[in-house]
Subunit: 242 residues, 2 copies
């Protein structure tokens, strides 16, 4: 029998702006939590949409791949993120989603979900908000891809990720789990691995960060925010609304 008890809610907290009753309704409709291994594919490129996915623990990435092997990471997800809210109203299916760490996630089938949305408009609104939050993040990525140098992009990416982990309650102040390789970073930042390596060294030698063995420590948050021109307001829209 699926674990839909109250204790489960605390084990797999949603970060959506929803009254508790709606959260519980959503969780009741969800599958029991599924597990994925590091590197496992959660949604294949071109797959037909069948369910909404919500990440309960771990991290994941959304990738667009090209025939010549080039790829662009278009999103990184942390605990609590909804992976494909927008596809409910606007099918995409040209990206794949992979687990970056071992991860657990909820799956909510499209049929029941649509019923639930009709019954509880607040859920539709929360998913709309997830879509918008994701778009806001994407827009910042666009902006640094279009206007900023390698070092600033990298710094901004690190700021954003650490901030989001913090909001998700995954930042005890110390080192944070950082599963992306330099090659992954290159695919996210639109750079070569070589240049990512050198940009990382630059940030290290400025005493701003320490990154090794899949662990990131931000040594000088103030300084890193400054050179990243990082203004976290774009991540906080959810709070303002609800």
């Amino acid at each position: 029998m699926p674990d839909n008890s109250a204790s489960f809610v605390t084990k797999c907290p949603l970060r959506m702006a929803l009254p508790i009753s709606d959260q519980q309704a959503l969780l009741r409709t969800a599958s029991p939590p599924r597990h994925a291994l590091k590197g496992e594919c959660l949604i294949a490129e071109g797959a037909e949409l069948s369910s909404l996915l919500i990440l309960c623990s771990g991290m994941a990435q959304k990738v667009r791949g090209f025939p010549d092997g080039i790829q662009q990471i278009v999103a990184v997800f942390v605990e609590g993120d909804t992976l494909n809210a927008s596809e409910i109203v606007f099918p995409q299916s040209r990206n794949a989603i992979y687990a970056l760490t071992t991860a657990t996630y909820l799956s909510i089938s499209l049929g029941p979900l649509n019923d639930l949305i009709v019954e509880r408009p607040a859920i539709a609104r929360a998913l709309w908000q997830e879509t918008a939050a994701h778009a806001a993040i994407q827009q910042e990525w666009m902006i640094w891809l279009g206007t900023r140098t390698a070092q600033v992009r990298l710094a901004h990416f690190l700021c954003e990720l650490s901030r989001r982990l913090q909001v998700a309650g995954r930042d005890p102040g110390g080192p944070i789990e950082f599963p992306l390789t330099q090659s992954d970073l290159a695919d996210a930042l639109g750079l070569s691995t070589v240049h990512v390596n050198r940009s990382l060294q630059a940030l290290r030698s400025l005493g701003l960060i320490d990154l090794a063995r899949s662990e990131l420590t931000i040594l000088d948050k103030r300084g890193l925010y400054a050179i990243a021109e990082f203004d976290p307001r774009y991540l906080d829209g959810r709070k303002l609304v609800n």
Copy 2:
């Protein structure tokens, strides 16, 4: 008295996926169409959100500006586009929106709109869909900013815009109105004006396009699509849903 008659609906068609009754309800709630001159600011950077804007005719751009004068165009809107759907659930307010041509648009105040959304869930869903459609376009921009050369970016941008104008019913096959200057293109594509100029010349000398005096003609659509690696499916999500 506002012109809310049936004929007005045809004058200012919505492209949202909505039953006619909902469309009419939306239009009844809207202001009479407003006019903007070329270059006029529709929403200032940092402005408090007060109403939903829908473009009825003309074109507009959404811009993020920086203190040093650098700016990134993050969206270009055509007739029928919703300019700020996502802000209803997720306030942003760090971008400005300017008219690229003389334009007309509808304005729907937030209060009445929220009432309407509660009353008619289909409207909320349509606006959610607009948010998702916009995010899909943004994602493509991200991808070419991250992975493609100047020429391909430019070509892709032209493909996308012409396709969207076509969907909006603004492409009679011949030359299309193209109000962006080379400097605007540079701000959208993350390039210098000089390099935009040279990339344009390259496309011209390949016999793919003709662009002069704010008019764009696509001479070889097949060829342009090919070098742009343009796959228009990401623009057609709305149809699939409704």
